[in-house]
Structure formats: structure tokens, C-alpha cells
């Protein structure tokens, strides 16, 4: 008797519900991007809300609209997330790795300050106050906005308050490029190793008063560069990376070290002429 009641009750219930659900599916189905269903399928269906969306489906919709990235789901496994990323094609295509590059060598050991900046310790803020107090208007302020901007911990300030970019960690997201108020950072393929390490537009030796490693626009690098690879523009050498050759020749005669070679292991290398400049300044002015 009990069994019959149970079967009757629950069986009846399921029958009714199944019918209702089926009819509802047929009648009330709303057409949507089919990818939503597939992505939802790949999600764990925990409907936990940890992703910040009210459930798995809204999250799937956000994923399909590319408003969110799969990593937001804490419940899914790594493969699951990769699977979704792969399905939606949100992964980066195969192209040469790019990294952020800094166009300034004026650390506090070589470049001078004209005024003492007081205020928010941020480059953006300082740049608004008479350019930040650095003698060279174009130079790095060394307050580390780029360091803060980098989510990947790829930038550190060195002892002379110059940002150093860790090429392995940099993902070329470009956040630092946007953050720098002096526009000193830009994204380049890692293979571009010859590098103009200065942005000042003044010509002549007076600029050395401001910064010992500034480009004086003497033009030697442009002369020495093979195939017109370097041309002078607005008192600055510009490397034409379209016909780039991996050579250190152009920097041999640079008197200040404004053109450098970014060695993957050894870091910044300057030409022989400029080395004493760097060395003495590092020795005499650099505090311990």
C-alpha cells in the first residue's frame, strides 16, 4: 500500500512536472546565442556567484559577450578555464613576444633635479607640477606609476629610481605605457635590442648639465648605422625597425650612452666611449 502511494504520488508528480517542463521547453524557449549554452555547459554549474555574476548562466553570457574572462570562475579547474578560453578564442594568437621598453637612462645618479617635488608620490601627479622638478623635462620621474600599473609584477625601480622591466614577466599588456605621463614606455618585440635610451629634444652639450647620459644629437650613431637604419629626427636618433639589424655598431662612438643594446642576460650595454660616464657617475654619486 505504502509503495503504491509512493509510486502514485511521486510518479504522478514527476509525470506532471516532466510534461510541464517539456511543454515549457518547447513553447517558451527563447532563442539565444548557442555558444552561451555550450559555455554554460563547460562551467561547473555551481551557481555559486563567486564570479561576481548571479549564476553560471549570466557568467556564461558575459563570457560570450567577452565582458569577463574565464579565470573569474573559482570553481572550475584550470583545464576547464582553458577549454572555455580556447572555445571562445580569447587566447592570444601566435606572434612575436613583445615587451615594454623604457626610453630614459636618467636615474638620479646621472640626471639632476631642479626643484624638490612635494606632494603625491605619483609620476602623473608630479608631472602636473612644473613637469615634476626634474631638470630634463622629458625624463623619467622615478615615482613608479608604471610599477603600480603593472599587474604582473614585471617592473621594479632600481636603486637610481629607474624602472627596470623584467622581460620574462612582461605580457605586453600596455598598462605601463598608458600610465607613464612622460610617454617613456612603449611596446616592442623582444628582438629589437638596439635601443635609443633618451627622449630629450634638445641638441648640444648643454643638455649634459641636466643629464649625463642624454642624447646630444651629435648624429654619430646615424652615421655609423648600416643601411640608413638610424635617422635623426627632431634632435633624436630614430631606429627604423623595419630594416633592423642586430648590431652594436651604431653605439660604439656614442659619447653619452644614449643608445644602448639591451642584452637578454647582461641587461643594458653601452658603447665603449660612454662606459666611463656611466661608471663614474655610478661610483661617485651613487649612494650605498
Amino acid at each position: 500500500m505504502l509503495i503504491l502511494t509512493a509510486l502514485g504520488a511521486l510518479g504522478g508528480l514527476t509525470v506532471v512536472l516532466a510534461l510541464l517542463l517539456i511543454i515549457a521547453y518547447k513553447k517558451l524557449q527563447v532563442k539565444e546565442d548557442p555558444r552561451i549554452d555550450i559555455v554554460e555547459e563547460m562551467l561547473p554549474h555551481a551557481n555559486c556567484g563567486a564570479c561576481g555574476y548571479p549564476g553560471c548562466r549570466p557568467f556564461a553570457e558575459a563570457l560570450v559577450r567577452e565582458e569577463a574572462l574565464p579565470g573569474k570562475c573559482t570553481v572550475s579547474s584550470d583545464e576547464g578555464r582553458q577549454q572555455i578560453a580556447a572555445f571562445l578564442g580569447v587566447d592570444v594568437g601566435a606572434s612575436e613576444k613583445q615587451v615594454a621598453r623604457l626610453a630614459c637612462g636618467g636615474g638620479i645618479n646621472v640626471a639632476r633635479n631642479r626643484a624638490r617635488y612635494q606632494g603625491l608620490q605619483s609620476c602623473e601627479a608630479a608631472s602636473l607640477v612644473s613637469g615634476g622638478g626634474k631638470e630634463c623635462f622629458w625624463g623619467c620621474l622615478g615615482l613608479g606609476d608604471c610599477v603600480d600599473a603593472c599587474d604582473f609584477d614585471a617592473i621594479k625601480l632600481n636603486a637610481f629610481h629607474l624602472p627596470v622591466i623584467n622581460e620574462d614577466k612582461c605580457t605586453a599588456c600596455g598598462d605601463c605605457v598608458v600610465a607613464c605621463p612622460k610617454d617613456l614606455l612603449s611596446l616592442h618585440p623582444v628582438s629589437h635590442r638596439l635601443w635609443i635610451n633618451c627622449k630629450n629634444l634638445e641638441a648640444g652639450d648643454e643638455i649634459l648639465e641636466e643629464c649625463k647620459v642624454a642624447c646630444t644629437a651629435c648624429g654619430r650613431c646615424a652615421m655609423d648605422a648600416p643601411d640608413q637604419m638610424i635617422v635623426m629626427k627632431e634632435n633624436l636618433p630614430v631606429i627604423d625597425y623595419r630594416n633592423y639589424q642586430d648590431t652594436t655598431k651604431p653605439m660604439e662612438r656614442c659619447p653619452t650612452g644614449a643608445i644602448v643594446y639591451l642584452h637578454p642576460q647582461k641587461g643594458k650595454i653601452t658603447g665603449p666611449k660612454a662606459r666611463p660616464v656611466i661608471r663614474t657617475s655610478a661610483r661617485t654619486d651613487a649612494p650605498t
Partner: protein, 452 residues
């Protein structure tokens, strides 16, 4: 405090602050002339808008008042020579932004009588509004109230709008500064002449001169000089910072609120600084160009405090030397202490927008010793902000780099950087600096692209 209690009946705006005035040192000092510096530095962009274009060569001799550079378009003004002398160089000169900017070096002839070149006068009776506006542009006049916005642009009433009141801004609410005060005392006739031009140019039927009640002598003097046929009144307003901001003055005098993102003309008003007006009244009848302006040199670091006629282009170093500034000055800023810009070098020149030079010594550099605490939500800034913003929230958002929320939800872009909030904040949070920076970030954001 006591003062504001007694002057409560005076028209004013809500909120705002009462910083100490520091005006006693200079307010009774008549305007005196200043010697010419050995080298004058004349930047080509002393105004908001496009820089002017040089019309002289290096080595050319020029006469005081001669055109050095012409205006480049409508939102631009010409530069006139501040002295008779020789053009040494056309190149880069130090600018207040710390950047080298295009400019002209001029070496005045020593001992020259420095006669001013006369030009074509504009007669207020016969000239049309457009003539006056063109003449104001030709005279190189920009707003002398601080913003250095080309005055003729402001006077050109846009299609479909009209001005019912011209307001002369004689509030001078910034502590330390007394230029406008002196101008109102000494140049009342020029102001009245200028008013005729301005009223004609804008077509406004009446003018009000708003003067803070701490300058009753200036108000009385102006009233005494009002010609019977001029529809002008002088009104005292409460002593409160930033009473001189055009929005606040409009609210105080007319009871209107300039709409967010709008201009005074949207509430049918045009605001011009009294010194600007005096300049118009002085230059236009003789067809001259602007070559000098009245500046207050003051501050604890300055010995010969006073109000001076200083030729445009005089380097700051020279100004401070002549005013016997102390050798240990520590912070020098152009303009008043609330809105002025600190300079990083004394090589930069006085420009048309400079209304004061204030020098502090080490002892006054308080900002440095003050420890910054987190915002304690005391609400002082909210009660100070004349625009009824919420600087506390804005500051917190800025700290967390939520610039978009600041602009979209908390009206960041309305902030006119008066500094009242920073002034009152007990936690010494550099609120205004946050806001300037945030605005810059937002402005740059669209412009910047990632480039290889």
C-alpha cells in the same frame, strides 16, 4: 570669523572657507613701476588657445608696444613688445610647465625712454561690437583674473544667447593678492571707460561690479567714479573664498547657478576681471597692445612687498632680486596661495596671467611637515566645497584609481580646483592634486594609444 558674522547679510554663495587674508602688507601700497630686466623672456603662449606666430626676426630692433607675434586664429591673441630693444633669439624659453616652450628673448636698450608706440584708436561711440571685439584681440588682452583666457572670445556672445548682465569681478578672494584692490582704487576712470567698451561688445544692458566687503574703500572709490549715464552698480559681497570664482560671484550677485558644464553666458552673464576691464579702458582709446600688468609681490620671503607695474616677460629671478627676496626662499608661486602655481625655476618670466608672486621661506613650508592620514570622513571638505561636490569620496576613489566613477558619478569634471577642500582637510589629504591628476588621466586616456 567675527567679520563674517557681521557681514552675514551680504550676498554670497553657500559653503566656502575663510582663510586668513594676509593682505595688510600690500593693500595700502600704491602701484609703482618696475625697472626693465636686462633680458626679457616672452613665451608665445601666454594665454589659453593657440600660441601666437612671431612676425619679427632675430637681431631686429623693436619699439615698446610693437607687435612681436600675431594671433593664430580666433582663440589666440597677439604679443606686443614689453620694451624697446633688440630681439636676441627666437627659440625655446622656459615655461611654467617646466617644459621649454617657443618664445622670444628680448634685450631692452638700457637707458631708453621706453616710449610706447601708439596705434589706431577705437572710438567707443562709433565702433560696432565686432570692431571692439577685434580691437580687444589686437590689443592682446587676456583675462587678468588668472586664467588668461582671451577676453575677446569671452565677449563674443554665441548665436541664440544674450547677456543681460556684465559682471566685473573685483572680489579678489585669494589671500595675499591686492592687485585688483589697487586697480580699483587707482584706475577707476579706466575701469569706467573699459566698461563702456565691454557693455557695447556684449550688448548687456547693465553691469555690476562685485567687490568683497573687505575692500570698502575700493567700492566707494568706484561708486564715486560712476558716470551718470553708465548703468553700473557696485555691490559688496561677503568675504569668503572662492567668492571671486565666476560661478560663485554669479550666484552671489544674481542668484543663478551656472549649469554644470556650462558657461556664464548660459545664465546670461559675462564675467570680466576689473583689471582686464581697466586694461581695455586704457589700451583701446589709444590702440595700444598690452605690455605690462599690475602684480602683487608679497609673501614672508619678500622684503619690499608691494604692487608693481611689471613688464610682461620679466624673469622671476629679476623680480625677486628687485623686491629683495630672502636668499632662503623655498617655495615661490605665481598667483595666490590657494590657486597659484609653484615654479620649479626662477628663469621663467612674468606673463599676462600672473597676478601675484608670493615667496615662502622654509618656515612657511607647512605642507611638508604635515603627515597625511587616511580620510576620516569628517565631512569638512563636503562643507567647504562651493560646488557641493563630495571631495572625500572623490579622494578615496582617486586613491584607488577609479577615475571613471569619479567623473560619471561624482562630477569630478565640475571641480574647478579651488582648493577649499584641501585647505580644510584635517587629514592633510592632497585632494586637489588628486583631482587634477584624475582629470589629466581621463583626458589622456582617449588620446593615448599603444604604439610600437
Amino acid at each position: 570669523m567675527l567679520h563674517s558674522m557681521f557681514s552675514n547679510h551680504l550676498p554670497t554663495f553657500r559653503h566656502g572657507i575663510h582663510p586668513p587674508q594676509f593682505k595688510d602688507d600690500t593693500k595700502d601700497k600704491p602701484i609703482r613701476h618696475f625697472p626693465f630686466a636686462p633680458v626679457m623672456v616672452i613665451p608665445l603662449a601666454q594665454h589659453i588657445g593657440k600660441p601666437s606666430v612671431p612676425v619679427v626676426r632675430e637681431g631686429q630692433e623693436v619699439v615698446r608696444g610693437q607687435l612681436l607675434a600675431r594671433a593664430d586664429g580666433f582663440v589666440s591673441v597677439p604679443q606686443h613688445s614689453p620694451a624697446s630693444g633688440i630681439i636676441k633669439k627666437i627659440g625655446r624659453v622656459p615655461g611654467i610647465t617646466g617644459k621649454m616652450v617657443p618664445g622670444i628673448y628680448l634685450e631692452p636698450f638700457p637707458g631708453s625712454s621706453q616710449e610706447v608706440m601708439e596705434g589706431r584708436p577705437v572710438d567707443v561711440e562709433t565702433a560696432t561690437a565686432d570692431d571692439i571685439i577685434r580691437a580687444i584681440q589686437d590689443a592682446g588682452i587676456v583675462g587678468l583674473g588668472g586664467a588668461a583666457f582671451p577676453t575677446h572670445v569671452k565677449l563674443k556672445i554665441p548665436e541664440g544667447k544674450h547677456a543681460d548682465t556684465l559682471i566685473l569681478n573685483g572680489a579678489e578672494c585669494e589671500p595675499y593678492l591686492t592687485t585688483d584692490h589697487r586697480v580699483m582704487l587707482e584706475q577707476a576712470p579706466d575701469i569706467m571707460t573699459g566698461l563702456r567698451y565691454l557693455l557695447k561688445a556684449t550688448g548687456a544692458p547693465r553691469a555690476i561690479i562685485g567687490v568683497e566687503s573687505n575692500k570698502p574703500d575700493a567700492a566707494d572709490n568706484l561708486r564715486a567714479h560712476i558716470p551718470p549715464d553708465l548703468p553700473v552698480t557696485v555691490e559688496l559681497v561677503e568675504v569668503k573664498y572662492p567668492q571671486g570664482a565666476e560661478k560663485m560671484l554669479i550666484t552671489a550677485l544674481l542668484g543663478r547657478e551656472v549649469p554644470s558644464g556650462g558657461l556664464p553666458i548660459d545664465v546670461n552673464a559675462v564675467v570680466v576681471n576689473v583689471a582686464t576691464c581697466a586694461e581695455v579702458g586704457r589700451l583701446l582709446p589709444r590702440g595700444r597692445g598690452i605690455q605690462e600688468r599690475v602684480i602683487t609681490i608679497t609673501g614672508p620671503g619678500v622684503e619690499k612687498k608691494g604692487n608693481y607695474w611689471i613688464p610682461i616677460g620679466t624673469p622671476l629671478r629679476y623680480v625677486l632680486e628687485q623686491a629683495h627676496a630672502a636668499p632662503d626662499i623655498n617655495r615661490v608661486f605665481l598667483g595666490g596661495p590657494m590657486m597659484g602655481t609653484a615654479v620649479s625655476s626662477l628663469d621663467i618670466p612674468i606673463t599676462k596671467g600672473t597676478s601675484g608672486v608670493v615667496a615662502f621661506r622654509d618656515a612657511e613650508a607647512f605642507a611638508r611637515q604635515n603627515k597625511i592620514y587616511p580620510c576620516i570622513h569628517c565631512g569638512a571638505c563636503v562643507e567647504a566645497c562651493p560646488l557641493f561636490l563630495n571631495p572625500s569620496k572623490l579622494g578615496i576613489l582617486a586613491k584607488f584609481k577609479e577615475y571613471h566613477a569619479m567623473a560619471s558619478e561624482y562630477h569630478l569634471m565640475d571641480c574647478f580646483e579651488c582648493g577649499s577642500c584641501t585647505y580644510v582637510c584635517p587629514s592633510h589629504i592632497p585632494l586637489v592634486q588628486y583631482f587634477r591628476m584624475s582629470k589629466l588621466v581621463l583626458r589622456n586616456e582617449k588620446a593615448k594609444k599603444i604604439h610600437v
